[in-house]
Amino acid sequence: MYLKDFTYHKPQTLIEACRILEQCNNGSPIAGGTDILVELKKGLRQNEEIVSLMEIKELKTINENGSELIIGSCATHNEVLKSSLVKKIIPALSEAASKIGTDQIRNTGTIGGNLCTGASCCDMAPILIALNASVEIVSSTSKRVVSLKDFFIFHKETSIKKGELMTKIIVPIPQSNVGTSFEKFGLRETASISVASVCVSITSDGNICTDSSIVIGAVAPTPRMSKKGSEILNGKKINELAKDSALLKSIGETVVKDSLPVDDLRGSAEFRRQLVNVLTQRAVVKAAKRSINYLIE
């Protein structure tokens, strides 16, 4: 096992990075390298040119503008996880980041890399989609903002085109009446790929769920929203969302219908359907509780 030779670029600016990517033959950006170096070593991909993003400082910042949290695409998982800003305004994001890989992986792997790899089991996508996040994508000549729910096209296929880079993840800061929770099922306690994951975000008004989103991971070619699940949830009373209730079960079963799981090493499609059902119910209960916590406080 070895890394084939490649040409290494270390641009100082974003524009320069985009230009190199545009011009080079079969190039790839590298952020933390935790996915791309594995794929290169295994021979699953061949890149003749590698463009390092480490010198582009603007890609590493995490800040807010009053209504949005803006995370640079090259912030590492641990930087997101440990950011006091993130913990303060969207703690569920920090929680999701803590479920990724190992400390070593979280110290190098980045949030942008996690999304751009385009794996359906990507652990940051469900919560970001649930929170209606978008990503900024730039090229040397243009800039566009894409809603994250439209970003994923298929397994390992995203809307990023040649010469483009993801620069930031823009997350609308949820109001205090929004509760979010992320449930992940891996085969080990830590350091395992999601067999299935579900993120639920609930907006409540008093005791009523006024809006919601449910996003499932690792059970379809891309992270996927379950609109039908949300439709059932919306308008329901929070205190009716009790464990083992018929309502909760119907939400779980409905979300399962929006999944498109496959059999793989980690579990069969049927097992994944069962997991989606259970995880959905758990995430709904938790998110519902969190959405009304502000009332109690």
């Binding site: 295994k42 590698i50 350091a191």
Partner: protein
């Protein structure tokens, strides 16, 4: 093109030219020769390469060296200041947190980064935070203790001593029975311990293997011209270039070619070997070798392979692919079942698993100009490698030197001669320079030699009172393409059952079947864990059916001392009942069994194993273990030379303790040289849990010989008869008046001055005539047997099927524990490895026989976050055949685990899982099928 980087490593600024594709790990290891960062998986899964980059832990295998430009790197070599260990290193050494040591540098650095950030983490936080560093030896338990101790040291506190009640048999001993840190632990904690892959010889080149991409095919032709033309390629060998002599592990089944001759039998079979200036060139050359195959039909399942007309792996032998057949009948099985009041039978299915030592296999060969070759290799069995190389290469033993410096874990994966050892020698001979060969993680899985997957049909008959009247077992072992240890595995699958419970009517039918998959071999517990899982499961099912407590039915049938089993094995010391009683009390069994809430369960499993095989692998009259002790001329140190290999289990330490006790000196005066065929007398090596008993006896005997000589010189000095003198704690004293003494080193100096070298030698052979007279009677014989009982408590998430093992209470009869801390380390490691194989591990192949999970990303093993609390007890016991009463613990401790977990899960969910691993999916399916 190389790029210039500036990097600060351990406080030193370097300006280095690196290729962009060089990883930080390769830069550290190859350019700076800082080999403390280890290459375990190369894909960011194991954490053995962990270093601190600007204070943060990273997998240096997944960091490009160019990306570390301008940054600070701390490796294990930079942690200790001078000779003084860093407090974390100190804690790891003292607490027994280091076994093979291969994961240790990464583990210590990760601990440092973590404690720097958070000085007082909780136990749960520590478990989670260390989960990026895999350890296969320790079961993480002592590592967690070491982190707790580190916390205290870093706060400037002295942690309290562990309260330990010595065994009765160790009460009057001064070195044996002590919880001493391993003799090699400081070197392993500082990155100084040298493993084979850390060795770089002048003018050394590298070798790699071309592996078959097909599961079964005839080789029509091999063309190597293009590969040979690649710049940097030195030698290419194919089947035509090597001997026709086949090799393997068991002499009746030598069926492997050094390189494939006419056909390949599995994806991963070895077709050609390349030596070149670096590994990268080797890989490129391998792609240029053109092999024309004629594909043959293949078979992957043992049941299919046995059928008439199934594709045959060997045309000339193993009819119906049945490579080994065992037909044993003891007592009268019909009569036994006729006497039973209740009979139950069931089929159990095991899993195909791999040892996964964190250190990959590696060998380096170097020829001198006198026709002698030296091989450095990561092996458990220096002598068997030596013997087999002599046979395959047609060289006398004296022309081969085999050295094992440190071995990063084996568990059976390194218990035989492998192709790296043979081919590095052949390539080196052709190239005229040293050649290093190593497996990467995928190649390790493909080389295989892991646990056979067994299909077991088990039937047990009992009386109303629970006493067993008859046992019938049929085991089909899926063996993969070659024999390896398989003949022995098949016998072991049957022979160990009668050692734990008393029964006199026993029928065993064993079949080992070849398939077009990687060869299976000997893994911890060798052949026995799956039958034991089946037996412990079925016994508990029977107990339920006849309304008996699970521990009571075991006590009813438990083996007793001085018993001859139905298959002619002689049990001497046996404290199995004490083990059962101990875990019953410690686990709170009587309060918990049948009384836990839904989803919680408790279960018992038991086991026992040989303390060393009674007979060698090949016919030989040599003593099985041998030792020489050479005392320094001033008596300040005694050096113990033993052939047996310390693979992390701590045998160097344990054997030195036995020798020191026998000589009457303290442990700090011991030094050990082991596993070097030129320097150390032969020891058959670290397999079949043999070293403590056999190596221990040899070391003790050598020590006694030294003691005899030193007492005689002291007798002259003190003018007292030697029989009235004794030696202990570095003093030689009058037995009736200990105040009359001479220091041991003064006597030793005197001895050397008068008589020259003070040397003792010892040897050990098992008693002659062990076992019965039937075919295969040798397998299972041993001078002594261990016994153990384990209770396990689990929590099952009944909605997802996930099993969390909460607690393990283990009691082990290992005779006198020569080093109780090392015994606990073996038990904890065995519990976690056993838990991992019961719940997580399984090799998966696609329909063309290609392994789908040959890595540590998809083949999951337990991390620190998964482990239960483990409480291990060593019961009072004394084995007359063992040194100071000692016997085995290494493999026996694995055996109870599978059954204990299976029984606990059954208790928790009310339905039984018959197939391993017990995955969430299987649990959920079982729960659902019960609900229907």
């Amino acid at each position: 093109m190389k790029l210039l980087i500036k990097i600060n490593v351990n406080g030193t600024e370097y300006e280095l030219a690196v290729k962009p594709s060089t990883t930080l790990l390769d830069l550290l290891r190859n350019q700076l020769l800082l080999t403390g960062a280890k290459k375990g998986c190369e894909l960011g899964d194991c954490g053995a390469c962990t270093v601190l980059l600007n204070g943060k832990a990273v997998n240096s295998c997944l960091v490009l060296a160019v990306e570390a430009d301008g940054q600070n790197v701390l490796t294990i070599e930079g942690l200790a200041k001078g000779e003084k260990l860093h407090p974390i290193q100190q804690a790891f050494v003292e607490k027994g947190a280091i076994q093979c040591g291969f994961c240790t540098p990464g583990m210590i650095l990760r601990t440092k980064a973590f404690l720097d950030e958070k000085p007082d983490p909780s136990k749960e936080e520590i478990k989670k935070e260390l989960s990026g560093n895999l350890c296969r030896c320790t079961g993480y338990t002592k590592i967690l203790e070491a982190v707790e101790t580190s916390k205290a040291y870093l706060r400037g506190e002295e942690p309290g001593e562990i309260e330990y009640q010595p065994q009765k048999s160790a009460m009057n001993l001064s070195v044996v029975g002590k919880r001493l840190p391993k003799i090699d632990a400081p070197d392993k904690a500082t990155g100084r311990a040298i493993y084979t892959d850390d060795i770089v010889l002048p003018n050394m080149i590298y070798g790699k293997l071309l592996l078959s991409p097909l599961p079964h095919a005839k080789i029509k032709s091999i063309k190597t011209e293009k590969a040979k033309a690649l710049p940097g390629v030195k030698v290419i060998l194919t089947g035509a270039d090597v001997t026709d002599l086949t090799y393997g592990t068991s002499p009746p089944r030598y069926d492997e070619n050094v390189l494939a001759k006419d056909k390949v039998r599995y994806v991963g079979d070895v077709v050609a070997a390349v030596a070149a200036i670096d590994e990268e060139t080797c890989y490129k050359a391998i792609k240029l070798i053109e092999v024309e195959y004629e594909e043959l039909p293949a078979v992957f399942d043992s049941m299919e392979a046995m059928k008439d007309g199934a594709p045959r792996l060997f045309d000339d032998k193993y009819e119906n692919n049945i490579n080994t057949r065992v037909d044993h009948h003891f007592g009268d099985i019909e009569k036994g079942f006729a006497e039973a009041d209740y009979i139950k039978e069931a089929r159990f299915v095991g899993n195909r698993i791999y040892q996964n030592p964190i250190e990959p296999h590696c060998a380096i060969a170097e020829w001198d100009r006198h026709g002698r070759v030296t091989v450095y290799t990561s092996t458990q069995v220096v002598h068997y490698v030596h013997h087999q190389l002599s046979r395959v290469l047609n060289l006398p033993l004296g022309n081969i030197r085999v050295i094992m410096y440190n071995c990063g874990g084996g568990f059976g994966a390194k218990a035989a001669t492998n192709m790296l050892e043979i081919l590095s020698i052949l390539l080196s001979k052709e190239a005229g320079c040293p050649v290093k060969m190593r497996f990467n993680r995928e190649e390790m899985y493909l080389y295989g030699r892991g646990r056979h997957k067994q299909y077991i049909d088990l039937k047990i008959g009992v009386k109303k009172d629970g006493s067993i009247t008859a046992v019938k077992q049929k085991a089909v072992l899926e063996g993969g393409a070659y024999s390896s240890f398989g003949i022995v595995s098949t016998y072991y699958a049957g022979s160990m059952l009668p050692t734990l419970y008393k029964f006199s009517n026993y029928k065993y039918d064993g079949y080992r079947v070849n398939t077009n998959l990687p060869p299976c071999g000997a893994m911890r517990g060798h052949g026995t864990p799956h039958p034991r899982f089946a037996f412990e499961s079925l016994l508990s099912m029977i107990a339920d059916d006849i309304g008996m407590d699970h521990i009571d039915i075991r006590l009813k049938n438990a083996m007793e001392p001085e018993t001859r089993t139905c298959n002619d094995l002689d049990i001497h010391s046996c404290e199995f009942k004490a083990c059962l009683e101990k875990v019953r009390i410690k686990s709170g069994w009587d309060k918990k069994k049948g009384k836990l809430p839904k989803g919680r369960g408790i279960g018992i499993g038991c086991g026992g194993f040989v303390s060393g095989a009674g007979y060698p692998i090949y016919r030989s009259k040599f003593p099985h273990s041998n030792a020489i002790i050479k005392v320094q001329e001033d008596g300040s140190k005694a050096v113990l030379f033993v052939g047996d290999a310390d693979i992390g289990q701590g045998s160097d330490t344990v054997l030195a303790q036995a020798a020191a006790e026998a000589m009457g000196i303290s442990f700090d005066r011991m030094s050990v040289v082991s596993a070097d065929s030129d320097i150390t007398p032969i020891g058959f090596g670290a397999y079949s849990s043999r070293v403590t008993l056999m190596g221990g006896n040899a070391s003790k005997m050598a020590g006694e010989e030294v003691k005899k000589q030193i007492l005689s010189i002291a007798s002259e000095m003190m003018n007292i008869d030697a029989e009235n003198l004794d030696a202990q704690n570095n003093m030689i004293f009058e037995k009736t008046n200990p105040d009359n003494f001479v220091p041991w080193d003064v006597a030793a100096t005197n001895f050397f001055s008068k008589h020259g070298p003070l040397v003792g030698k010892g040897h050990y052979s098992p008693p002659e005539g062990l076992g019965g007279n039937y075919k295969g009677a040798a397998v299972g014989t041993s001078p002594a047997f261990s016994f153990s009982a384990s209770v396990c408590e689990v929590e099952v998430d009944v909605e997802t099927g996930k099993v969390k093992v909460l607690n393990f209470w283990d009691a082990h009869d290992c005779g006198t524990a020569i080093n109780p801390m090392a015994v606990e380390g073996q038990v904890e490691g065995a519990v976690v490895m056993g838990m991992s194989e019961t719940l997580l591990e399984d090799e998966v192949f696609d329909s063309n026989g290609k392994m789908r999970n040959p890595d540590l990303h998809n083949y999951l093993i337990a991390t620190s976050a998964d482990i239960p609390d483990i409480d291990s007890t060593i019961v009072d016991s004394y084995e007359p055949a063992g040194p100071f009463g000692a016997k085995e613990v290494g493999e026996g401790a694995t055996l109870p685990v599978l059954g204990a977990i299976a029984n606990a899960v059954a208790d928790a969910i009310g339905v039984r899982i018959f197939e391993l691993p017990i995955t969430p999916e299987r649990v959920l399916n079982a729960i659902r099928s019960k609900a229907k």
